[in-house]
Symmetry: C2
Subunit: 188 residues, 2 copies
């Protein structure tokens, strides 16, 4: 029996790809094993179980989104940055629905949770977007929650097909960005 040369990273990466293809709930240990040319029990040499697997996919997704955001925000500020950030997140969710679905779950558990770190990086990027607006420091946390709620809600609804098709979603997206931009620009 030849070695397959697996390690946690390879397994998680394959699982993430599979999740995007068939949907997170359909990522079964058997299917993943088959994809990797291995028998299901062998996977347990690399991940602790299905829960652990999903958690690792979530970390991967948050890390990737964080990277994408960092790239997208380079040299941008204000409305430009807001639009870029929103577009980046929306694009990622549409492109990687399975990965993103893994992040919609679990409360942070341990104190030194690797998911926390990845999540914080995303938050940092969103906070950077707010730098370009006259937001009172005490309101920053609220504005951050606005951005998170809105991007998350929009992405989930679009990915789940929750919007009727009558009107273009792109148009709504642009409208929403504009709405937030205007609201954040006001100083009173």
């Amino acid at each position: 029996m030849p070695r397959a040369g697996l390690d946690p990273a390879v397994v998680v990466s394959a699982a993430a790809g599979l999740a995007d293809e068939v949907g997170l709930p359909n990522v079964t240990m058997g299917l993943l094993a088959e994809r990797l040319g291995v028998r299901p029990p062998s996977l347990y040499k690399h991940v602790a179980g299905q829960a652990d697997l999903v958690r690792r996919i979530a970390v991967l997704a948050l890390t990737e989104v964080g990277d994408d955001l960092r790239d997208a925000l380079q040299g941008r500020a204000g409305r430009d940055a807001l639009e870029a950030a929103a577009r980046t997140i929306r694009h990622y969710v549409l492109e990687h629905p399975g990965r993103y679905a893994a992040t919609v779950r679990l409360e942070p558990q341990g104190p030194d949770d690797p998911m926390d770190a990845a999540g914080k990086r995303v938050l940092t990027s969103l906070a950077a977007v707010l730098e370009g607006y006259p937001v009172d420091p005490t309101d920053t946390i609220h504005a951050l929650r606005l951005l998170r709620s809105l991007t998350h809600g929009f992405a989930v609804l679009e990915a789940a097909g929750g919007f009727q098709l009558d009107t273009d979603v792109d148009e709504s997206f642009a409208w929403l960005v504009d709405f937030v931009d205007r609201g954040l620009r006001r100083t009173d």
Copy 2:
């Protein structure tokens, strides 16, 4: 063997309660049967299976939210209505996380889908909120998507414990309502 007096409504109601208690993913046919004093196969006399069950829970949830919204919006308009609607949805999700989780799933399927009807009632209420604002008719759809995305995203993040505890979530909620209210009031 005495009759248990079940019917679809009783089964779905019990399942919804169970979902709120133990979380939707943990609503197993066995657990639900036990709760109803019955053996698992008996449930299939009333619902077609687990997928059907979740779908019916979703319809129940949308119907209840629709009712709550209708009540909450009685005699209110403008900012008052907006705040009432947002509070109603937020309250429902916190009170019935399992039921709400059932609605976060897939695209309407059949043409005469009972879920569509229930969903439309909710949308109608949200549209009524917008009546009190100077929103251009062509922008109504966008504003509706704003409300849906924001309420949904906020509710999910709060229910999932996605917000850090440093700052009060109630405060952020009030800030968000205010933000949307101001944005919708402007006419240009």
